[in-house]
Symmetry: C2
Subunit: 416 residues, 2 copies
Amino acid sequence: MKLPLGFRFAGVHAGIKKIAQKEDFTLVHCPGGATAAGVYTQNFVFAAPVALDRARTPASDIGVVAVNSGNANACTGERGLSDARQMARLAATAVGAQENQALVMSTGVIGVFLPMDKIAAGATAAAAKLGDDEAAFLAAARGILTTDKGIKVASRTLTIGGREVRLAGMCKGAGMIGPNMATMLGIVTTDAALSPDTAQAVLKAAVEDSFNCISVEGHMSTNDTVLLLASGAAGQKSEVGGQRSEVSNRPPLTTHHSPLTGSDLTAFQTALRELCIELAKQIPDDGEGASHLITIHVRGMKTRDEARRISQTVANSALVKTAVAGADPNWGRIVSAAGYAGVPFDPAGVDLVVNGHKLYERGAPVPFDARTVSAAIKASRETTIEFTFREGTAAVRFWTSDLNVEYVRFNADYTT
Amino acid sequence: MKLPLGFRFAGVHAGIKKIAQKEDFTLVHCPGGATAAGVYTQNFVFAAPVALDRARTPASDIGVVAVNSGNANACTGERGLSDARQMARLAATAVGAQENQALVMSTGVIGVFLPMDKIAAGATAAAAKLGDDEAAFLAAARGILTTDKGIKVASRTLTIGGREVRLAGMCKGAGMIGPNMATMLGIVTTDAALSPDTAQAVLKAAVEDSFNCISVEGHMSTNDTVLLLASGAAGQKSEVGGQRSEVSNRPPLTTHHSPLTGSDLTAFQTALRELCIELAKQIPDDGEGASHLITIHVRGMKTRDEARRISQTVANSALVKTAVAGADPNWGRIVSAAGYAGVPFDPAGVDLVVNGHKLYERGAPVPFDARTVSAAIKASRETTIEFTFREGTAAVRFWTSDLNVEYVRFNADYTT
């Protein structure tokens, strides 16, 4: 994995999670500063770190992002806001940045105050371990996890104006995942140069097709945050014989390249969108207890928003999700879920294809062998549900997990 | 149970359900005709019987309602519509009514054509068994069930203008239950006299507070229907020594009393609303695999619609439902679910009380003993979640079931 220049990473165990040894505190340090953009949960009950970051982004000179897992610092009132500010201050101090150059993210249990002594110790310990190698990046990716089975990372490189531009992202999330952000945290770092407004615009567009098109159970979290950090340091370092030289700790901001525009920006946007989709799909694929990643592809609606509302409604149907878990080609559940999304369509113009098998055509059932389709669902980790409507040309893809007894067992006993 | 005058009931086994012996075909006969009103699913994918009934209600002279379980006649295209019309014709013929005096309801598997030979045999067999006693009513109530554990019935009597007026209702539903009607069928019979327009208005109002305030998993069905049948035959029969005399098979319509108005109508409305709530609550209480009936009471919103959207969103949260199943007082899930209903509110003005224990007050956690609250949830079949907002004075109650492994086991293998 080629990491973007201009970043250092660390993940340490600060004791916030109950489980010993596991990383639960992460720092992403931008020694030379970075443009930062953020998109956040639309939940009216939003966590303290969301309030803090929302006020500080987009920004032109962010120095550090601190993330803790094991505690969401959500529903914690005034004290929670004060704790989030203190967490930012501790992280900034630990890396020698200004307080207002720090962003914070938290994920974990709701309604418990942050253990500030552990946060302070974590910031100091993580600052001492910062590195720009893959091991440091992976430790940071582990530090943001909660119920995830494993890390979720993705990277891209592209060449813009003769210079290699790199993107590397990490995210977390396995439960409380609904669209418009969920308990998902994501950080995408790049050494491309972006203005704050451009960063905000390209992040928003990429999230729309990725993190906003996933769900596990449709429960929108209080803490959802995706940050894009752009150091502008691309091409500042040579690689010799595949060995990368040391990154300078604090390259002056003045050496950054001009912000991307035109076709360069378009190329970057495509890479960012693909990276975000690759990251986002890993979340329902790791949905709590999930045995299938379900892709719902809706075509032929009047608008993208209508297509998304239909795909999202199908994705969040417990009956659809349990049918896939049981490899049951019960297409009536799928078609009926589309019908209650609140989007009008002609029921006589609907086709449905599951894993390549046409089950429903122009509003009427198609004879099919249930055993064959059931075997196809059982045989593959991925289930594809394709709708064709005859209302227009808008389309969308949405990803979700199935729903099986493991999800329920897991969630019936999370805090007690 | 005192049954309304002017109705006869039957439920027979017609062989539509796979399970032998179980009733799967019901007739409700109104020998002297009845005013009929209906409310139906808002799903754009609606079943053929919904299309037929919607076109025929409100009506002043309905003679018979035929219901089959085991097959929903949904997603069956043109042939489904033709089958629904034929089912109405068969029922009308069986009781000597006109074809357009018949209404039909179907519930069961989606996407399979109705077995019309069995429907025909069922209509004939049921017509031969029609009776006005409780045994006949209960057989009819059994004939509409699918995955329900038992019958769902309720009755009321009230005195209006010196005459005893009776209401008796039946409903079904245990899965695919979302608001705005779900796979729930309901029939409320009364011997009050109502004009078609009044019947439609009072049914709509009663359903708004009852069947539209329940969910199991929030999946709105293709077949949801609640009918109100008003014979106007109240007080036409004397009761001697607790023994009811034979109801006349076809009292002339002209003997019906004048339609209810004014305070008489208000009294009837109250009874209808209470009866509908009593019926509706039985559905989530019998939710597939449910171990708790959850009541969500939202107070202090600007409008009833806003209160309902919040209560419905909380009700449909898998994380809330699994927490209750596990007796886990994880109130963060409850508060965060309220926040993504799309209804703005001040998070600092929210209180939450679960089973009488205050867990959250004015946007901040209240210290509580998790074991005590968990024990309270475990000890009772009913869990009460009370929200107080500080936005206004509108309130609503909503009922749902919890979500446990039995639901998933059951629904992962329904058709195959």
